[in-house]
């Protein structure tokens, strides 16, 4: 099933785009596994996802830990810790 990936801040810059549609294989069930799988797509992806401790995620716009299963979510976002205000 297709998942719409969204990237923000330096994750977006390193990946090289803010959004892409991906079709993860059956064994990929958690956000962390999704990130592992995406890291193989390009050098940019690998660079963006190298430091897991600095990555945060949202599944269908709800903030979740990386070990969360994304199930049938249509949208998964990966980004650095937030710095607003």
């Amino acid at each position: 099933m297709a998942v719409r990936m969204l990237y923000f801040a330096w994750v977006r810059e390193r990946v090289g785009c803010g959004e892409e549609l991906v079709e993860p294989p059956a064994g990929v069930t958690t956000v962390a596994q999704l990130v592992d799988w995406l890291a193989m797509r390009s050098d940019g992806h690998a660079q963006a996802f190298a430091d897991r401790g600095r990555l945060r995620a949202a599944v269908d716009q709800a903030f979740v830990p990386l070990d969360t299963a994304f199930g049938s979510a249509g949208e998964v976002a990966i980004f650095p810790p937030v710095t607003g205000g």
């Binding site: 716009q61 937030v82 710095t83």
Partner: protein, 148 residues
């Protein structure tokens, strides 16, 4: 009344205060965050750029405002956050709260700005000498948010 705005336009504090004062509460507290010039070793900040997650950012701010209104029985809560490029001295964020008395208004206002910093998806990029750097999240912000 809850008012949440995420916009590229400059923030009109006088207009926001006038709006929340119309709630008819006895106390209005507010916080305004400005772009710091921060002339450190790397020089002064020329431009600050704010990126956000359209949809999710507004939803996160609304959730915070709802929580504040319930917890402190507020008559009103306003959060206005600017996005896009801005210069030193310009306003980044405005938080306003209206309550029957000052204690609730002041506490709710501090709660909203503390939690906004850790719970709402915004990212700051500072441009110095034509070179952009993403701002790192600060542990002190986590500590401030957890006290609530």
């Amino acid at each position: 009344m809850i008012r949440v705005v995420v916009d590229r336009e400059p923030i009109d504090v006088a207009a926001e205060l006038a709006l929340i004062e119309r709630e008819g509460a006895g106390a209005v507290a507010s916080f305004t965050g400005l772009v710091r010039a921060d002339a450190g070793a790397e020089g002064a900040v020329e431009t600050l750029e704010l990126e956000h997650y359209p949809g999710a950012t507004e939803a996160a701010l609304r959730t915070l405002a709802d929580e504040a209104v319930t917890r402190w029985s507020l008559a009103g809560a306003t959060i206005v956050h600017r996005v896009g490029p801005m210069r030193a001295g310009e306003r980044i964020v405005f938080v306003g709260t209206a309550a029957p008395h000052r204690g609730a208004a002041l506490d709710a206002c501090a709660f909203l700005i503390d939690r906004l910093k850790t719970d709402a998806p915004f990212w700051k990029r500072e441009v110095r000498g034509g070179h952009g750097t993403w701002v790192e999240a600060r542990d002190t912000d986590e500590v401030a948010a957890r006290r609530w």
